[in-house]
């Protein structure tokens, strides 16, 4: 073997070694193997105590799960609304949820963030033929002056045929903008298509839980 070949082989070996070490470093420390040594009496007592405590915590956790026969689940990531009846998903609808955008009112120093709220809510009221009273941001958003008269704020067809109140001004309602269903475009409400809205409206009752994530 020539001297040059030996040097090339050494360099190649060093490169391989450097790569191995690099990946080892990025893998982090290896997990420790389970300790198979038997427990002493004190350890066994602690184990029994921990198991009893864990059982109690698991029971409490299970007690938090939804118990209602009918409930609604809204996935803001996928813009999907599901209706569950007796634990089974009986309706899956495409919806629109909050855009997450912000709007500022430079004159009055106000700021709105158009997010659909997350968490547990309840249907508080059901409104057929709802009339939307447009809030200030609805005018600011399109560069219009905020009207002083209430009549100028009324939008009788904007919310579709039905609206279900989730509280704090957030609604599940219909929409004129069907093309935007499936997109995150709303100002926080949940929009549904006409057929899905009709079915949901007639299935849920006041007090039906709505889970939004």
């Amino acid at each position: 073997m020539r001297r040059r070949e030996v040097i090339v082989a050494a360099v190649a070996l060093a490169a391989v070694l450097a790569l191995v070490l690099f990946f080892l470093q990025h893998r982090g420390p290896a997990p420790a193997a389970a300790d198979a040594r038997p427990l002493d009496a004190a350890g066994q007592k602690e184990l029994r105590s921990l198991q009893a405590r864990t059982d109690g915590l698991e029971r409490r956790l299970a007690g938090l799960k939804p118990k209602a026969a009918i409930y609604v689940v809204i996935d803001t990531g996928r813009n999907r609304l599901s209706l569950y009846e007796n634990g089974a998903e009986t309706l899956k609808a495409v919806c629109s949820t909050g855009s997450g955008r912000a709007l500022v009112d430079p004159e009055r120093k106000r700021r709105w963030v158009f997010d659909t709220p997350r968490g547990e809510f309840f249907i508080r009221a059901k409104h057929p033929d709802p009339v939307w009273i447009k809030p200030d941001w609805a005018f600011l958003e399109v560069g219009e002056a905020i009207p002083r008269r209430l009549a100028e704020r009324l939008a009788p067809t904007e919310l579709g045929a039905y609206a279900m109140d989730l509280g704090d001004g957030y609604l599940i309602h219909g929409t004129l903008y069907k093309r935007a269903l499936g997109l995150s475009v709303t100002h926080g409400c949940v929009r549904l298509g006409d057929d899905d809205l009709d079915q949901i409206y007639h299935k849920v009752r006041i007090g039906t839980p709505v889970y939004i994530y």
């Binding site: 193997a33 938090l64 500022v104 547990e120």
Partner: protein, 344 residues
């Protein structure tokens, strides 16, 4: 006189020998741990519980305790199970969605010690902001002027969610979401190459970041995850078995709140044993009680407490849930609420 052939100089031979030894050590380090773990797993199970069982029970208790605290907030939270390579959307103890992770890169995990405390086994972190969050760039006056008469116009639509983004937390950890191509063909190959280069580079994060996590998932799912994240969302990170989290300021599990229940109607107070019944006060012909009797029995407004055993009106029922009857169409709302009124 011919010179003696010399293939290697002494320092070159020593260097090669050192490299070879290092390679052997690296190989042992790489393959030694899994073998040891496999050996431990294949050994016959002892009848008595082991220290490993105790450690597993500690981990389980810590995880359930954190979960219970988060579930009782009645808000959604994320569970990042690094061992199972899964990201779960949980709410009130229910998994509402599980996102499979194609790959996970983690920097900063430590080897678990038997005496480790619960906060290092399951860490709760709070999302501060996501990269490129549209809420950080409010609509400008120019955009408003351009207007969006129709909400389907481009100005009204939010920007397309990114497929790769970083999440900043209130604690010194960084989570990077990497949308990785899983399709076959040239596009898929290119995506996998990019993903491999990113994994080579490792998870992002500043110098002060104690824990860096890169989650590789499908690009479409990455966009969905992006849309679903809002500030103050809690993330529960579970390290793999045998590992623990670094001390990165993880939050203590919040105290579980009592379940939200409709208060039951007030029960009738028990009557005193000595007074089995009370003779109703006399009434005059007009149904009015005499003034002194009214005072004695504590009529409303008299300022006197009522007699023991007398029923009081139950409190008004809580507003939700209310009886299942549809209300009439809503009256017009007060204009004063319109600055925070219903949204569409």
């Amino acid at each position: 006189m011919t010179p003696r052939p010399v293939l290697l100089r002494p320092f070159e031979g020593a260097a090669i020998l050192a490299l070879a030894l290092l390679a052997c050590a690296a190989a042992c380090a790489a393959f030694g741990a899994p073998r040891a773990a496999a050996g431990a797993a294949s050994s016959p199970a002892a009848a008595r519980p082991t220290r490993g069982d105790l450690e597993a029970a500690r981990r389980r208790a810590a995880v359930i305790e954190s979960e219970l605290a988060l579930a009782s907030t009645r808000k959604p939270y994320l569970v990042l199970d690094l061992g199972a390579r899964a990201l779960r959307y949980r709410m009130m103890g229910l998994t509402v969605r599980e996102v499979p992770l194609l790959d996970v890169d983690v920097e900063g995990l430590q080897t678990a010690e038997l005496a480790s405390g619960a906060p290092l086994i399951a860490g709760i972190f709070t999302l501060k902001e996501k990269e490129g969050d549209p809420r950080l760039t409010p609509l400008s006056p120019e955009q408003v002027e351009e207007g969006a008469d129709d909400e389907n116009t481009a100005n009204a639509l939010p920007p397309e969610p990114p497929r790769e983004f970083t999440l900043a937390f209130k604690q010194p950890i960084a989570v990077e979401i990497v949308g990785r191509e899983t399709r076959s063909g040239v596009q898929g190959m290119w995506g996998r190459m990019i993903g491999a280069l990113r994994r080579w580079h490792g998870p992002g994060g500043g110098e002060e970041t104690r824990l860096r996590i890169a989650l590789h998932l499908d690009p479409e799912i990455a966009a969905e995850v992006y849309r679903s994240l809002i500030p103050d969302l809690r993330l529960l990170v579970l390290p793999p078995d045998g590992m623990q989290l670094p001390a990165a300021g993880q939050e203590a599990p919040p105290k579980p709140r009592a379940a939200r229940k409709t208060p039951p109607p007030r029960e009738k107070e028990p009557e005193p044993k000595e007074v089995p019944f009370k003779i109703p006060p006399p009434e005059d012909v007009n149904g009015q009680r005499p003034a002194d009797e009214t005072q004695e029995t504590g009529e409303p407004g008299s300022g006197e407490p009522g007699p023991a055993g007398e029923e009081t009106a139950p409190p008004a029922p809580s507003p939700a849930p209310t009886p299942p009857s549809d209300p009439p169409p809503p009256p017009e709302r007060r204009p004063g609420r319109t600055d925070r009124g219903p949204s569409t």
